[in-house]
Amino acid sequence: MFKILHAEFIAPGIKRFVIDAPRIARKQRPGQFVILRIYEEGERIPITIEKSEPAHGTISIVVQSVGKTTHLLNALETGDSIRDVVGPLGNPSEIKKFGSVVVIGGGVGTAMAYPTAAALKTAGNRVISIIGARTRELVILETEMRGVSDEVQVTTDDGSYAEKGFVTDKLRALIQAGKQIDLVLAIGPIPMMRAVAEVTGKVNIRTIVSLNPIMIDGTGMCGGCRVLVDGKSEFACVDGPEFDASRINFDVLVQRNAMYRAAEQKSLEEFQRERDALLAKVHVEQACALQGGGR
């Protein structure tokens, strides 16, 4: 059991959790993720680590409600526990002095881009951050990103905050203005990462994306998270999660992520129908574990 020391919504449907996980906190590097399982009947899902505090033995993650598991997770509060958290998994982001780096965070992807942006800044890069969100309320970590960037640009799809448009509009503008860009890091929804890759591919700017396909073990054992890289299978869990965007077959990525859509829909409907009963089950499990009844 991994105790949730603090949980709070930072935007509608987006919650930050600070979790007691000393072993993971000690080893985590930007770009790595954990796999968690909430309760005995739960599935295992990968979530990027936002940051860790080794001195306090804590890690934080930022979770957006999408399917049953993330909805259930976001229904947990400070003081609750998560049954299993394992990590840090995957390779850390490559951190060195590239020169001028553009870091793009789309939606909840901003929380995943943040630790790498911070590390890139510390490594002496000039960091230009572009944050995109559907609407005003979903713009997250703007203050934190400003703290680690030389320049921050924000877009909203509906224009309710900052500039109306997409992150790619800003990226294109930077390129057209002749700004020196040595590396682009894009983390967000697949269509966004794909659009960024199309823009930078035309002008040969090296672009890194962080992939989050369906995973089970996260240690290279099952091969479920395989992505087609230059026509060959690689595993996002151990070969990634970050890849050079120009080598990724995005069609296959989209297709494989849709593999269980019917089951996912069924699970989500079940959650919406039986939210309270499910939460009660999770709480009973936690109480049993506290009394030493866990396995």
């Binding site: 394992v86 054992m221 269980y260 079940e270």
Partner: protein, 488 residues
Amino acid sequence: MSPAAKSLNPVPIKERMKLPRQTMLEQPALLRARNFKEVNLGYSEDLARAEAQRCLECAKPVCIKDCPVGVKVKEFVQLIVAGDYLAAAAKIREDNVLPAITGRVCPQEDHCEGGCLMGKKVQPVGIGYLERFVADYEQKHMDHSAIRRVPPTGKKVAIVGSGPSCLTAAGDLVQKGHQVRVFEALHELGGVLVYGIPEFRLPKQIIREQIDYMRQMGVEFETNVVVGKTITIDELMQEEGYDAVFIGTGAGAPQFMGIPGEHLNGVYSANEFLTRINLMHAYEFPKFDEPMLDFRGQNVAVIGGGNTALDAIRSAQRLGAGKAYVLYRRSEAEMPARKEEVKHAKEEGIEFHMLTAPVEFLSDGKGWLTGVRSMRMQLGDPDASGRRRPVPIEGSEFEIPLSVAVIAIGTSANPLIQSTTPGLATNKRNYIEANPETQRTSRKGVFAGGDIVTGSATVILAMGAGRRAAKSIHEYLTTGTWHQSTHL
């Protein structure tokens, strides 16, 4: 003294040689092909004693010699004849800490039963069935509070992984008084026994009972630790004070065939397919959250001829597959699977296509699998494995419509530990190098065994390695000497 002189066996030797092997009770094939309950139902006491009475009590028992962990087969079988089942179980436990597991999944025909003299006359003694019987009897009848703990030596051993080699090493070492802690990457203990072998062949409850037994012996377990990521071997030894480490992380990474269409939705590695079903309980969706593709009434094929392949296809059958095929590029004689599994699979209606090798997975154009194109093979000259090499027959291509294909052609070394442990020698296929007698690696205090050393093998061979490792770890911990020969 001739063994017969002190034998309690009422049946004269000559009569024994005429006795047929007692049949294992099992779920009827058509019923079990639709459920995940255990196929074999076990021997009753009467059946067990009748079977035990068939043992010829050889002066030089081949069964013991052929057992990778040296179970004293003759002695435990004699104790069954005598009706002292708990003593029989204790006798097995002297050499094998997981009898309920090996009694179920060991390829006995390759070991204890393979050389049984009765096999030359009628059929070998059902040693596996007898082992299973006494292990299950012990679980039901023994006084668990009587499990004794050995006085501590003050030495700490870290065991990396919780599969068969690790559990064996942990069990042997804790009985020597060492403090033993097992680190498991997944959320559930048991390694391949849990994620790989299905409920119908090895119920999870059996594994839990064996692990609880080890807990009572004093073994500590920690899940959710990926050694190589969460902590390294060096950190275990330098920062957490472990005097020795045993690495038994298994074979790990699934192999794909490198043919077109392997990324299609519906194509699985056997590791993923079985992990979803066994570890994640996808067959109980939506009670459990992990989903599986719904292939009820549709065709499923597994590619491969080992136990993993049969576990996968028999699981698919139980999930409601319309047709369930095994595609294997050699002939049935070369199939590495246990004979009993092949027999069970056939009874359950699995169709075997021998001498068949897939060349391409077919797509609907939208990313979903619709079938497989294969070639017929013929057997040529023997290859490196000593088996006759399959050679494609020109122009023999044919297609089978499929919704799901499971690739079960073996595994390769998972590099997580090798790449994070400086100075740990590996072979050219990146498996860890270990001395075959002592299981010592190139790093002082670090031992390894099981599939991460040998590549994919069986539960009992991994247990044999765990046993040898425990012996030499104990020797190292008590003498402090590390004899490093030139080739490990």
